[in-house]
């Protein structure tokens, strides 16, 4: 096999493996994500300084303790 043919075969195999591997750029359906009208599940996670933040308390503490609207944005990370 010529090196050109070998490269082409390698490329074809790589694409096939990728298609079969299940790794995809396609996003999952996320059917179980909270919907309009539902309560957002509460949780506690560290912030970027490592300080634990309880989400329900974060919301309630906003707006001088009256509670605030929150935009909660999930992102992929791995900047």
């Amino acid at each position: 096999m010529t090196s050109k043919a070998r490269r082409k075969l390698a490329g074809t195999v790589a694409v096939a493996l990728l298609a079969l591997s299940g790794t995809s750029a396609q996003l999952p359906p996320s059917k179980g994500a909270p919907k309009v009208g539902e309560k957002a599940p509460d949780f506690t996670l560290p912030d970027s300084n490592g300080k634990p933040v309880k989400f329900s308390e974060f919301i309630a503490a906003g707006n001088g303790g009256k509670g605030s609207w929150v935009l909660l944005a999930f992102y992929r990370g791995y900047w």
């Binding site: 995809s24 996320s30 933040v53 605030s68 609207w69 999930f74």
Partner: protein, 116 residues
Amino acid sequence: MRSFQENLDKFAARGVRLVALSVDTPEVTRAHIEKVGYTYTFLCDPQAEVIRRYDLLHPRGGPKNADIARPAEFLLDPTATVRWVNLTESYKVRVTAEDILKVLDKLGVIPADQKK
């Protein structure tokens, strides 16, 4: 996310606070947001526990097949009730701050000085 930072004052004028969440650790997150100058709240979910609870896991969607969150935005009112959800079909279609400010206007969440 840059558009969120650039419009932070417009969100603040409506009493809306921003929270971003990903699998990045606090160390990785802090290093990056300090570099790019993001000042809103970032929460860190390295085990993807919350991401899973919200059904937003993208298995093997990250570098080296890492499990990550798919992009999603939720507007929550002060009772933590979901009032708007954005689940994009593709990474290429990203919501902007302007889009969300328009949604807020429609929901009646407008700057205090515009309220009658």
